[in-house]
């Protein structure tokens, strides 16, 4: 299970060079997303799409909220 983090931990990870990934559909990403985030919608998340991420660096995923 991935480590669950809050806003403060997110900021520290981003300061340290973590990659930020919004997993919502593309339309929602286009509307608004966190600065620097890339979009990998959950439905399209596979080895091919994930190849654009660097496995050596932390990856932070987020969606709309915890519900």
């Amino acid at each position: 299970m991935a480590t669950r983090i809050d806003l403060g931990q997110l900021r520290k990870l981003l300061d340290g060079g973590a990659q930020l990934v919004e997993v919502l559909p593309a339309a929602e990403y286009r509307d608004e997303h966190l600065p620097g985030a890339i979009n990998l919608p959950l439905k399209q998340l596979d080895a091919t799409s994930a190849a654009q991420l660097d496995q050596a660096r932390p990856v932070v995923v987020y969606c709309w909220d915890s519900l």
């Binding site: 299970m1 991935a2 480590t3 669950r4 983090i5 809050d6 806003l7 931990q9 997110l10 990870l13 973590a18 990934v21 919004e22 997993v23 919502l24 990403y29 286009r30 509307d31 608004e32 997303h33 966190l34 600065p35 620097g36 985030a37 990998l40 959950l42 998340l45 596979d46 080895a47 994930a50 991420l53 496995q55 660096r57 932390p58 990856v59 932070v60 995923v61 987020y62 969606c63 709309w64 909220d65 915890s66």
Partner: protein
Amino acid sequence: MSPRAACRLQLLGFTQVYDYVAGKADWLAHGLPTEGEQAQVPRAKDVLRRDAVTAFSEEPVGQVAARVAGSPYGFALVVANDGTLLGRLRKAVLDADPAARAEQVMEAGPSTIRADRPLAELAERLGSRGLRTAIITAPDGKLLGVVRRADMEAQLGGQP
């Protein structure tokens, strides 16, 4: 959705995967910047003021009243040591017993709004209720500041 995405990435071999579970809603509600087509929509965060007088719950009201007199507001906001909003001291109690402690006379749990609230909607809401200011808090209850209807109307080009 993000827990499933995190799990998927781990199955794909990623070992440093984190889940910001509170997500975009939390980020927006803290008034933080965003990118995208809707990022320029005026929001409460764009007119946020951090100059409202704050007081601790054990403070004598007379002490707080002196600070409020030198501020552009007629009230003070009572906060805990960690910044959590506890209450509001309105002018009537500020002008009453100066020895009373803030927690004894404050209005507990005042209404608040989030920093990502669209400005046009918020200005209309305040206008319809005859309110001049609104309090902004983060999702964890910490005080971010206040917004003034006059600032909203100026930002919106005079539109209420």
